[in-house]
Symmetry: C2
Subunit: 324 residues, 2 copies
């Protein structure tokens, strides 16, 4: 499951959450701050709800197990929800969205993350980039997949600017003194701004409530950093809510209605210079189609890290079909 989740991110074009992260997960396992074979414990079970404890296991594995447990509950109750505490960064939310949609369910997913954003008006890192995701099956060959962080931009964009020695636009981040900055290095020491100011703050808070407060996980600044805190667990919390379409509407009717909406959106008049209107999830599906045909691009750095880990763990490094 762990490998599948990482590769799924690369396949769908979210390389930032794919194999490039393998090294840090292995590092954390070796240091004992991730327990790879941890059980997923049911703390509470009420009708359609599961309160789960991941036992400091791998986020991808425990979140996938939680989703697998929710599916029969949602089928029975029409709706089912789970919180997971004591977990880790669980990779790309898109992975769980794809799984739920493949089985015909609507999923809403959120997760806490290590601190990066301040509340509106502040400048101390408090919230993570707290993503909200939702996926909906369609008859288009791909699910509609909403998947967004509540930050102005992903931290990855600031890191990319730093590597290119470029400036970042004002409005992306604040420096450690709380002043607007165009210097990516200062931004990385400071805070990322929430999307749309107070609206992003409100959404980040909503995610924190569901994922961190309600789950019993660490909240805000108490969440451990994957890269910086190698001596302690992250205690990340996740939240899933799964809906069985058949409880609301005939699934065939839902599909017809969703497809008609997609057609109407894509057929909508375009602004000057816009070639195509995409629906959320379409680009991800196109990436997957391309990558499944020609192979997943893996950076030289990631390949080198994988070889080093194979040597360190006395595992033969044997990948077939690696291109340039």
């Amino acid at each position: 499951m762990f490998a599948e989740a990482l590769v799924d991110a690369d396949v769908h074009g979210t390389a930032t959450h794919g194999l490039t992260r393998l090294s840090i997960y292995l590092e954390r396992i070796q240091r004992g701050v991730i327990v790879p074979d941890a059980a997923l414990t049911v703390l509470r079970k009420t009708g359609g709800v599961l309160a789960l404890d991941a036992g400091n296991g791998l986020g991808q594995v425990q979140a996938r197990r939680a989703l697998d447990m929710l599916i029969p509950l949602a089928r029975e109750n029409g709706v089912a929800a789970a919180t997971v505490r004591n977990s880790q960064h669980f990779g790309a939310v898109s992975y769980y969205c794809n799984l739920a949609a493949q089985q015909g369910f609507i999923l809403m997913a959120m997760t806490g993350c290590e601190p990066a954003m301040a509340p509106e008006g502040g400048y101390e890192p408090f919230f993570g980039t707290n993503p909200i995701a939702a996926s909906f099956p369609t008859g288009k060959g791909y699910p509609v997949k909403v998947d967004l962080s509540t930050s102005m931009v992903a931290r990855g964009n600031i890191i990319a600017a730093q590597k290119k020695k470029a400036l970042i636009p004002l409005g992306w981040a604040l420096d450690p003194a709380g002043q607007p900055t165009t210097d990516p290095s200062q931004a990385l020491l400071g805070t990322v701004l929430t999307m749309a100011g107070h609206k992003g703050y409100a959404l980040a808070l909503m995610v924190e409530m569901f994922s961190s407060v309600l789950s019993g996980a660490a909240v805000g600044p108490a969440i451990g950093s994957m890269y910086k805190n190698l001596d302690r667990k992250q205690d990340v919390g996740h939240f899933f809510c799964l809906f069985d379409i058949a409880a609301f509407l005939d699934p065939a009717e839902f599909e017809t209605r969703a497809d008609a909406m997609i057609d109407a959106i894509k057929g909508s008049r375009k602004r000057e210079g816009v070639e195509e209107i995409l629906v959320p999830g379409e680009r991800s599906a196109r990436n997957a189609a391309k990558n499944e045909a020609v192979g997943v691009p893996v950076s030289a750095e990631t390949l080198s890290e994988m070889k080093q880990w194979c040597a360190r763990l006395h595992v033969p490094f044997a990948l077939s079909g690696i291109g340039a």
Copy 2:
């Protein structure tokens, strides 16, 4: 219930959704495009899910009834969800948030609205300003209440600029030809931009999926306009998901954890010029405290409309304690 919902909006400082709307609701009732005594019909009931038809009744009344029906279901199942089709503009989402929080539940609420925003890259009105709301009980004397439209700004701000003959900032709206505009009149004929570009578009689409597609209500441009389409129903859809905290965590522990988060946020270092960091819901609670003490401000225009309606309906106009 209808009057209560309107007054609740005024009390909490959301005058745009309060008594100022009474006139248009009455107008629509008189024209037969709202059925004030419509039944709320259960189309499907599965475990924790209700699929409801509002029979073209008043949005505020039918949505409140839907919420009242969900409460025992959420208590039994831990989580319960409802869609409502064939409804109208249901006023301020804040009203339902307050009700759920008063009874100790977490509510997530969404609703479709008449078309105002284009998908990212387009310029035809498709989505409404599709709000997302969520409320969480706390021990602070007010619930945390996330309540935001997925548009850059509320249409009300553009109307206000038009009345003041002021310009609006670039980035708020497009004119009818799809060009950025600072002219509020052109903006009102065109489209309001989504908040944070493609992110707001994705969230608006999520709201449309839950509220309109899944409910079986009208979708996108098919939703009737409250003010412009006086000859036909709106067919708005709503979506509620209600969570019983006790299914996840001891409610007292939830309250302690939520309060600790609020304290940490409010105690966070402030940016230059910021006097206080507010949590979402705090301003609304302060408005309510003030308005309950000194009375709700009602505009001369709204008062005059109410007097005219009283005359038209042969009802005595008798309000006590009206100030200047």
